[in-house]
Symmetry: C2
Subunit: 332 residues, 2 copies
C-alpha cells in the first residue's frame, strides 16, 4: 500500500468512515467511496462534506471517487475497508459479488460482531474462503469525533500478516495519528466487541445510581473478563493492558457519548430494549454482541459475570436492579 | 479485631479519616480520634460532624472519644489507623513516643509516600522496627465523598499477615462496602502512590488540549508503568488489573475531583509548582511521590516515561508542552 499509489475502497458512510477517509487523503491514495443513498452522495459531491456525520470535516474531493454501486467501487480498488455498523455488515457483504473480492486486501474497521454468524469479521471472512494473510483489522481507542478535531489518537492495526499490518499502519499515520501493528487480530476484534457490552453495563449501573468508585471496580473486572475470554478462545501471550484492549475499553465505558453506554443508561432507567432502540433511532452494537458472545461462551468452560448480567437483563428481561445487585457480589 | 470489642485510634481528621470513622462505627468498636486543633475538636463534640470534611455525615458520638493528645489516644487503643495526608505523616509520627506503639496493630490508610525517607508507609514502619505481621494497608478505589453518600465501594485490605488483613476487611465491610484481602501490601501501597503521579500527568495533558482518545492511551501506559515498577521493586505474580491497582488508577486519573489531577491541570495551564500549591492551598500528594519514586527508580534498570515526564516538568521546570510532546512518542 505504502509504496505505490493505491486504490482504497471505503464501504460505509458513518462517522468512523468519514474520519478514515480524512486520514487516507493525507496520503497519495485514491479513495473509492461507496455511498448507498443518492441524496447523501450528491451532498458530498456538492459540498465536500458528509452531511450526516462529522460535517465539520472538509474532505479532499480531488482524491475521492463516489459511487452507489458497491461492486464497481470494489472492482476499482486494491484494498477494501469495511466500516459499516456491525448490524449492517452481513447484509452489505451479501451485495458484493464474491469473485470481486478475490486477491483484495480486506480491512475491517467494524467495531462489532457479525451477529448473524456470531463471528468476528476476520473469522467470518476466513469461513468465506479468504486468506488470513490478506485480512486486517483497525482498532481504537478512537472516537471519530476527536480524529475530526485532529486530537492526537493511537490506532492499532492488527493482522496475522505483520508486514501488511505495518503497511496499513503507515498509511493511517499522520501528525495526529500514531499507529502501531499487532499480530493479535482475533484478540483486538473480540476486545472491541466486548467493550461495547461493558459500556452497556456501565450505563446500566450509572442509571441505577452507582458512583465512580463502583465504576472503576466494574472497569477492572471488565478487563479481567475480556482477558479470561480471550485466553479461552485464542490463547496468546498478550498484554491486555495495551491501548487496543484496556484503552479501548476505558474510552468507551467512561464516555458519556458512547452509544452503548447511552443504551445501557436507558435500560437502567427502565426502558425496554425495543423502546430504547426506538428512542435512540439505532441499535447499539453491544446488544447483538451480548447474544453472540454468550453463544460462544456456551462451548467454553468460563464464567463472565458482567456479560452474563447484561445478557440476563437484555434477553431474559430480568430487572436491572436485581441483576446488578447479584453482580456486585461477584466483583472484586 | 472482629471478635472482641476493639479500640481503634484514628490519627487524622480529613475526609478519608471521617469516612473511615463512619465505617468503624457500624461495628462494636470504640474509636479514639486524635484531632490536632481544639476548635475542630470542639465542633465535632458539639455537632457530631466534622466541620471541614464530609460535614453531611452525622457520626455516632457514643462510640467516639476525642483528644488532642496523640499519645493518650494511642495508649488507649489496640489498633492505630494513620490517615493523615502523606506530607504530614512523618511529622505526625515523630510526635508519638515510640514505645507507645509496641504491640499495636498499625494500619495505614495513607495514599502517598513518606517523602522524607522515600519509603512507602509499611517499609518505613519496618525500618522503625515494627513487624510486618502487624502492619496493614487500606487501599481503594475509594473517594471518601462516595462513602459518605453510602455508594457501593470496594476496599482492598493488604498485609503480609493475611489473617489480620481479613480481620480488618471484616470490620470495614457493611452493606455499601465490600472489602477483600491481599498479601501484596507493597504492591498496593506503591500503586496508590503512583496513581497520584499518573493523575498529575492526566491533568497536565487535559490542560494541553489532549482528548479522551489520548487519555485512554495514557491510562493503558500508566498501568503498564506501574506494573513494570512493581515487578522491579517487589516481584510477585500479581494481577495488575485488580481494582486495588487498575481501579484505583482509573478512579483517580479520570476524576475531575482528584486533587492530583487538578494540580496537574494547573501545571499544564502554565502555573508554577509554587503558585499552583498556593492557589490550591494544599500540596498534591503526587508532587512528593514523583520525587520519591524517581529516587527509587535510579537504582533499578527500568524506564518509566510518564513518571519521568512529570518529574521533568515539576522538578526540572521543562515546559509541559515540550515534555508531553516528547512523551507521546514513547506511548503505545
Amino acid at each position: 500500500l505504502r509504496n505505490k499509489k493505491s486504490n482504497i475502497a471505503v464501504i460505509g458512510d458513518g462517522s468512523w468512515a468519514t474520519a478514515l477517509i480524512k486520514l487516507f487523503t493525507n496520503h497519495q491514495v485514491e479513495i473509492n467511496w461507496y455511498i448507498r443513498q443518492d441524496e447523501i452522495l450528491d451532498k458530498i459531491k456538492e459540498n465536500g462534506r458528509n452531511p450526516l456525520y462529522l460535517s465539520s470535516v472538509k474532505l479532499d474531493m480531488s482524491k475521492i471517487n463516489l459511487s452507489n454501486d458497491i461492486n464497481e467501487i470494489i472492482c476499482q480498488s486494491d484494498s477494501i475497508v469495511f466500516v459499516v455498523p456491525s448490524a449492517f455488515f452481513h447484509s452489505t457483504y451479501k451485495k458484493i459479488v464474491r469473485e470481486n473480492l478475490n486477491d483484495k486486501i480486506l480491512i475491517s474497521a467494524i467495531k462489532g460482531i457479525v451477529h448473524e454468524k456470531s463471528k468476528i469479521v476476520s473469522d467470518f471472512l476466513i469461513t468465506e474462503g479468504f486468506s488470513s494473510d490478506k485480512i486486517v483489522a483497525i482498532a481504537g481507542p478512537c472516537h471519530a469525533e476527536e480524529v475530526a478535531m485532529e486530537k492526537l489518537s493511537y490506532l492499532t492495526i492488527a493482522s496475522e500478516n505483520e508486514v501488511l499490518a505495518k503497511d496499513v499502519a503507515g498509511i493511517l499515520s499522520c501528525n495526529y495519528i500514531k499507529s502501531s501493528s499487532s499480530a493479535d487480530i482475533v484478540g483486538v476484534e473480540y476486545s472491541a466487541v466486548m467493550k461495547n457490552i461493558m459500556a452497556i453495563a456501565a450505563g446500566i449501573c450509572h442509571s441505577l445510581g452507582f458512583g465512580d468508585n463502583f465504576q472503576s471496580v466494574l472497569l477492572s473486572n471488565a478487563l479481567n473478563e475480556i482477558n479470561i475470554f480471550l485466553d479461552a478462545v485464542y490463547p496468546l501471550n498478550r498484554n491486555i493492558n495495551k491501548s487496543a484492549y484496556l484503552g479501548d475499553l476505558a474510552v468507551t465505558a467512561y464516555s458519556q457519548f458512547s452509544r452503548n453506554r447511552t443504551f445501557g443508561a436507558m435500560i437502567g432507567k427502565g426502558y425496554s430494549v425495543k423502546s430504547a432502540q426506538l428512542e435512540m433511532n439505532m441499535v447499539a452494537e453491544g446488544y447483538f454482541g451480548t447474544n453472540s458472545i454468550m453463544k460462544i461462551v456456551k462451548n467454553l468452560n468460563i464464567e463472565l459475570p458482567i456479560i452474563q448480567a447484561v445478557y440476563n437483563i437484555l434477553y431474559l428481561n430480568i430487572s436491572p436492579y436485581i441483576e446488578i445487585n447479584l453482580l456486585t457480589d461477584k466483583l472484586k
